[in-house]
């Protein structure tokens, strides 16, 4: 009886070798946020990353939206900052980590900012309560005059 045909088998790990434009040694992607088109880039990268990790397309949109909120805050309030996107794995599950940081004016009252309906003088809410709602883990630290960092994680649903 003939042998099984020699099929070209690609190990599951090969999808990880896709080159991303700015990937550092830890496998994180960073996007410098300065202008509006950077928000789009960060969203797109986030969507791609989530897609690669096997998140559903609805969840990819969710993640892109969270990134949009965080990146927009940077543009609006700090002028410049960075979004770092990475992956995390824990107990056999995999997730996306978003870290948005800037050296902007900082948030005076984080508790206020985390309340629904809070808005700054520009009439735009910071969108943070929403991000916290959809992400599984959410951390924010901010010092007035020094800057703000938001770290959020979302795990792939089993």
């Amino acid at each position: 009886m003939a042998k099984a045909p020699r099929t070209q088998y690609e190990p599951a790990s090969s999808s990880r070798s896709v080159e991303m434009s700015t990937k550092d040694g830890r496998g994180e992607t960073h996007v410098t946020i300065r202008k509006y088109s950077d928000i789009l880039e960060a969203r797109q990268k986030g969507r791609e990353l989530a897609g690669e990790l096997g998140f559903s397309s609805t969840d990819c949109t969710l993640i892109a939206t969270a990134i949009s909120e965080l990146a927009r805050n940077i543009v609006l309030y700090a002028g410049q900052g960075e979004i770092r996107l990475g992956t995390s794995s824990q107990m056999g599950n995999i997730g996306v980590v978003i870290r948005a940081s800037d050296k902007g004016p900082g948030i005076h009252n984080i508790r206020c900012a985390m309340q629904d309906g809070f808005s700054t003088s520009r009439g735009l809410g910071l969108g943070l309560p929403g991000v916290k709602r959809i992400m599984d883990e959410f951390e924010i630290s901010s010092r007035v005059g020094m800057g703000t960092t938001v770290t959020a994680k979302i795990w792939k649903p089993r």
Binding site: M1, A2, K3, A4, R6, T7, Q8, Y9, P11, A12, S13, S56, T58, G92, P157, R158
Partner: protein, 303 residues
């Protein structure tokens, strides 16, 4: 765990015991031996399989065909040190035999039997040279074990994939979105909803609204005995998403318990359109859509 093994298998070759030259020469001798004695060893193996009452779901001819293929792939894997082809074969074999009802213990069993048959033949061949036998076994055993692992893991993964697909199919079937009239969808939900099912429901519903261009959706939860706060939240979000797509939502069959859960999570029930039962919900939906349903007798009279 399974993923790690697989990655390990692809990352390493099997020749990592002893010095490369040594092991390489030994494996060559081994592979040679296995090629030469193919027919006899294959037969021995098939005999053992039958004796152990494995692969009972397959005919003798099928067993012969598959065992020959496995044997060849096994020897190739020993020879080349590369597991990719074997992995691919294991997958395709699994795809073929799983629908036939072959179980994991059978697949693991037959691979182990092959390993035994080959080992025995080595004992026989080198019985007069104990040190050589030892060296050959040193080369053979790790390789053979990795192969056994690869085939077993390949089978298990394929099984898991099939099970997942079946579960998915069941999920999809058990949450049908029904179009009863133009622009009116009904989503009867039965049973306990977990977050994953809730997500699925939402996606199916929204897709249905788009496809059917529905303007009213009746979500019937008469058949849902209990709902925790997470899923209740999800229901509320589904209602909101539905509204964003321009459709109205009527919830029917809301039990007092679930109503309480909704109130607890801060839902203003007065803002939700709820009707006692599905029938009432459909009538309300028709009213909203501007339908008037006449009983046949009435029509006949006015004719």
């Amino acid at each position: 765990m399974v993923r790690t093994l697989e990655m390990e298998a692809t990352a390493h070759s099997m020749m990592d015991e002893g010095t490369p030259a040594d092991t390489s020469a030994l494996l060559t001798a081994l592979v040679d031996h296995l090629h030469k004695n193919r027919t006899q060893l294959c037969e021995e193996w098939a005999k053992r399989i039958t004796a152990a009452r494995l692969l009972t779901a397959m005919t003798r001819d099928e067993i012969f065909a598959e065992t020959t293929a496995v044997y060849n792939n096994y020897v190739d894997a020993l020879e080349s040190g590369a597991l990719e082809v074997l992995q691919a074969y294991a997958r395709s074999l699994s795809e073929r035999i799983i629908p036939r009802g072959v179980e994991t213990h059978e697949v693991v069993g037959i691979v182990l039997l092959l390993r035994d048959v080959l080992a025995r033949s080595l004992f026989a061949k080198y019985q007069n040279d104990f040190s050589m036998l030892n060296r050959i076994l040193d080369a053979y055993e790790p390789a053979a074990n990795r192969i056994a692992n690869t085939v077993a893991v390949g089978f298990v993964q394929e099984r898991e994939r099939v099970i997942r697909e079946q579960q998915e199919a069941i999920r999809v079937l058990s949450t049908p979105v029904l179009q009863v009239r133009e622009r009116l969808l009904i989503l009867p939900i039965i049973g306990v909803i977990d977050p994953q099912r809730a997500r699925q429901l939402t996606e199916q519903l929204l897709r249905g609204i788009r496809t059917n261009r529905a303007k009213v959706v009746v979500i019937d939860i008469t058949g849902v005995p209990v709902m925790d706060a997470t899923v209740a939240n999800h229901l509320v979000q589904t209602v909101e998403a539905t509204r964003l797509l321009g459709a109205m939502v009527i919830i029917t069959g809301l039990s007092p318990e679930i109503a309480q859960t909704l109130v607890t999570i801060g839902v203003d029930l007065s803002k939700m359109n709820t009707v006692g039962d599905l029938q009432g919900g459909i009538e309300e939906a028709e009213r909203l859509l501007g339908y008037k349903v006449h009983p046949i007798g009435e029509l006949a009279q006015s004719a």
